[in-house]
């Protein structure tokens, strides 16, 4: 049976990271992009916690940061949703490609 070690967690985190980036690039829906952001943030969290769990040199700090990140993600989401609503009010859509008036 395959034992689950640090490597596996890191791979998961890397996949999450990649998936998040991919989502951000491809999604046209603002909320979708925010989900991508969350994926990336959480890939970082997975890493942090995994390191704390598996590595000697890492102590409690990683988990503290993970908590901070969760809080930050929440705050960010709050602001982000507000902005999305604002966008919707102005453009009647949350398709980010529509919001391309400012350019050049």
């Amino acid at each position: 049976m395959m034992s689950i070690g640090l490597t596996e967690y890191l791979v998961v985190a890397a996949v999450l990271f990649g998936a998040g980036i991919f989502t951000m690039i491809t999604k046209r829906n603002a909320i979708g992009i925010l989900i991508g952001v969350e994926l990336v943030l959480n890939s970082a969290n997975v890493n942090l916690v995994a390191f704390d769990r598996y590595l000697e040199r890492c102590r409690i700090d990683g988990q503290i940061l993970a908590l901070v990140v969760i809080v930050l993600a929440a705050a960010e989401a709050a602001i982000a949703v507000g902005i999305c609503i604002n966008l919707y009010k102005n453009l009647a859509t949350v398709d980010v490609d529509t919001a391309a008036k400012l350019r050049g």
Binding site: I21, I25, I33, D97, A100, L102, G104
Partner: protein
């Protein structure tokens, strides 16, 4: 007299017309019509003439008492400026040549000034309703200043400066009637053609400055001789151009200046056009003095010439004298006819210089100045009298209306034709001076280099007594010293001296023969001119009726006629013979042209008596035969020789060719330059923009080829285009932003990977990595 008296007198003589110039410039309008003219006469030339006379008399005494050489040697030099490390000095070149020239210029100029007062009386107010009377005399005074300055200059630089200034005066005076288009065109032509010559002069000047390290005439000559003797400096250079050594180029360069000013072939084109100026100007500047300055220059820098350079000078002189004489035959404008005769005579002088007839050429300069000034004034009298008619075909029979003019003019014709009776030594002007040049040419062609050369050389005459090494310690060639002593007793071959002319080749015989033939042509066209104008029957009633003489104007004619006689016999020939030893490569010149006794020349050269002694008679006779009954016979001859006539009337098409090649060509080049300036630089930047566009093809820019004007626009446009490329990433779509950022970050990371690999390999491979 004390040591610097002569110099001071001469300098005052130079400055006096300058003062006159400023007085006329500032107060001219207030002085009013005749007064301004008289101020010009008195201050502009009267004072210099008096001073020149004093100097001349005094100087004769000094020469006789043997002080002249010392005075020359101790002449004062003022350091005007430092040219690099070489001092540019200014001073009076005090020797017999200067004194003689100075006197001649002041004398002739004075009478022409007087003439002008009368001449301008009827002219000055015509232009645009505003008086330019005072301006005319101001220019004349300025000319006097420049010309006299030129004559006394001790340094090549100042010679050049005054050289340019006389050019300016010539420009101003030719263009005096500048409201007439052709006058200002002629003025420009004159100035620019002269500038072409000056360009050569400047090159010569540069070589003198650089190779001889001085601009002083005497020092330059001394160094030239030293360098020749030692084979250093300019003679050490192996540089050649058309087979000419550097020293030769220097000589030819200096001569180029003379070519311009003396209107030698091929720079002769300006002089006939210069006749657009007022007639006194033609007489003074374009016949007697300024155009002769070229000859004077060659005389002055004779000591810097090499045999090759002299040969070149002779060639140019020979071509000029022949070609211009032929043109003179067909001219119908009285002034043009005289102008071409002037060109031809200048050709003789230059030819003489080239042959080594230093004294003879200068002598011819003097005699020519007198009679040609007189001829021009006569023509001016005619033109003035005939109500500004210059066409000889409409004249004829004027002797009755203007007898003084007629006969003084005739004296001039005799003089230029070289009339004289060989057996008894009576003659006029050219009889002495021109024939002497021809004699020297004969010597150079037929007897030069032969062992028995010197038996033909007249040398025993008393005139030789005057040939002292007058220049004393100053700038004397060693060769002359040797030769000067040797000369008196045993006639050692001149070629044997150590001078630079040691191996001078003989003059090509065809040159000599051309000069001889032209000696027959001259009397012909002069007689034609005189006859058409004064003799025969009046051909135009209107002109004839109007004709009259003015007293103020014929007095100068008479004076100059007398001067023509006097100058042919006394004073000048010995004076230049005095100067010759110091101012020339004495060995050669003295050998072939050393005697002060001009008549002896005719005896010495038996060929002259038969060859040219009666040329005047032949020429006169032919002209008389053709023109005695009006123009009918001439017209018939013209028809027979139509092609030749056409060629001559068009002056060998020089003007046309020059206009096409130089004037039009230059303007064309200029226009091309302007086009380059406006468009090519742009094109380069368009090109740059184009390349940028290709490189940035993905951005799909369309290059705007319109409206590009100037380099800045080009750069700006390229920049703008690049800007479009740079901004093409800013699509306004956030997804693109994230994509671009990620992509770029990925690229950066890959580079970093590569670097890390490199670093790792590197660190493990070597123990001492390069740092810093």
């Amino acid at each position: 007299m004390t040591s610097h008296t002569y110099e001071i007198l001469l300098a005052l003589g130079v400055l006096s017309p300058f003062v006159s110039f400023w007085i006329l410039v500032f107060f001219g309008p207030r002085l009013g019509k005749p007064t301004a003219g008289w101020v010009g006469v008195a201050l502009g030339m009267g004072v210099p003439l008096v001073l020149a006379t004093v100097v001349l008399i005094g100087w004769r005494g000094e020469v006789a008492s043997g002080n002249a050489a010392e005075l020359t040697a101790n002449a004062f030099r003022y350091e005007w400026a430092m040219l690099g490390t070489v001092p540019a000095t200014v001073g009076v070149k005090l020797d017999s040549l200067t004194v003689g020239m100075f006197f001649m210029v002041t004398f002739i100029a004075f009478w022409i000034f007087v003439f002008s007062v009368g001449y301008m009386a009827g002219h000055s107010d015509e232009v645009g309703g505003k008086s330019k009377y005072h301006r005319f005399f101001a220019y004349l005074s300025l000319f006097g200043f420049s010309m006299l300055g030129l004559v006394v200059s001790s340094s090549l630089l100042f010679l050049f400066i005054f050289w340019e200034l006389v050019g300016l005066c010539s420009y101003l005076l030719i263009g005096f009637y500048f409201d007439k288009g052709f006058a200002s065109a002629a003025a420009i032509k004159a100035f620019i053609t002269n500038r072409v010559g000056d360009f050569g002069f400047l090159i010569g000047l540069m070589l003198v400055y650089f190779q001889l390290g001085t601009l002083d005439l005497d020092v330059a000559a001394q160094r030239f001789a030293e360098q020749y003797a030692a084979g250093t400096g300019i003679f050490a250079s192996h540089f050649t151009l058309f087979g000419w050594s550097l020293a030769t180029i220097m000589g030819i360069g200096l001569f180029c200046g003379a070519m311009g000013k003396s209107a030698q072939f091929p720079l002769h084109v300006w002089l006939p056009d210069a006749m657009a100026g007022p007639t006194p100007v033609s007489a003074l500047i374009h016949a007697a003095t300024m155009v002769a300055a070229g000859v004077y220059l060659v005389a002055r820098v004779f000591r810097l010439m090499t045999p090759e350079a002299l040969m070149f000078i002779a060639l140019i002189g020979c071509l000029t004298l022949t070609l211009m004489a032929l043109i003179a035959i067909v001219q119908v404008d009285i002034k043009k006819c005289l102008a071409y005769s002037t060109l031809s005579q200048l050709g003789y002088m230059i030819f003489g210089m080239g042959c080594g007839a230093w004294i003879a050429a200068l002598f011819h300069l003097i005699t020519h100045a007198f009679f040609k000034a007189m001829l021009f004034l006569g023509s001016g009298q005619v033109i003035e009298g005939c109500h500004h008619e210059q066409d000889m075909r409409k004249m004829g029979g004027l002797r009755k209306k203007m007898p003084y003019t007629c006969w003084t003019f005739f004296i001039g014709v005799l003089a230029i034709a070289g009339t004289g009776i060989p057996a008894i030594g009576i003659g006029l002007g050219g009889y002495f001076s021109k024939d002497e040049i021809l004699a020297v040419a004969y010597t150079r062609s037929y007897e030069w280099g032969k062992d028995d050369f010197h038996k033909h050389v007249p040398g025993e005459g008393g005139g030789h007594g005057a040939v002292e090494p007058a220049d004393g310690g100053q700038a004397m060639l060693a060769s002359y010293q040797d030769h000067g002593q040797a000369h008196g007793d045993d006639h050692a071959p001149a070629g044997g001296a150590q001078g630079i002319f040691e191996n001078t080749p003989a003059l090509p015989k065809w040159m000599f023969w051309l000069a001889i033939i032209t000696a027959y042509v001259t009397p012909f066209y002069m007689m034609r001119c005189w006859w058409m104008t004064f003799m025969g029957k009046p051909r135009d009633k209107h002109v004839y009726e109007h004709a009259h003489e003015s007293r103020l104007m014929f007095i100068p004619l008479v004076v100059l006629a007398v001067g023509t006689f006097v100058s042919s016999y006394f004073l000048f020939r010995p004076l230049f013979a005095d100067a010759a030893p110091a101012a020339t490569d004495a060995a050669m010149v003295m050998a072939i042209d050393g005697t002060a006794d001009t008549e002896a020349v005719h005896h010495a050269h038996s060929f002259l008596i038969g060859g040219v002694g009666f040329a005047f008679a032949v020429g006169f006779a032919i002209a008389f035969l053709i023109y005695r009954n009006g123009l009918d016979l001439a017209e018939r001859i013209r028809r027979v020789l139509a092609p030749l006539h056409t060629l001559l009337v068009h002056k060998y098409y020089f003007d046309e060719v020059y206009d096409l090649v130089w004037v039009k060509g230059c303007i064309l080049v200029a226009k091309i330059a302007r086009l380059i300036d406006t468009y090519v630089v742009d094109f380069l930047f368009d090109l740059a923009a184009f390349v940028t566009e290709r490189l940035a093809a993905f951005s799909g820019l369309i290059l705007d080829n319109q409206g590009v004007d100037g380099m800045v626009n080009g750069v700006a446009k390229t920049t703008m285009d690049v800007s479009d490329v740079a901004r093409s990433g800013q699509t306004g779509r956030i997804r693109n932003y994230v994509l671009f950022s990620t992509a770029m970050a990925t690229v950066v990371m890959l580079v970093l990977f590569w670097w890390a690999m490199q670093a790792g390999n590197f660190m493990t491979a070597t123990s001492a990595p390069p740092v810093g």
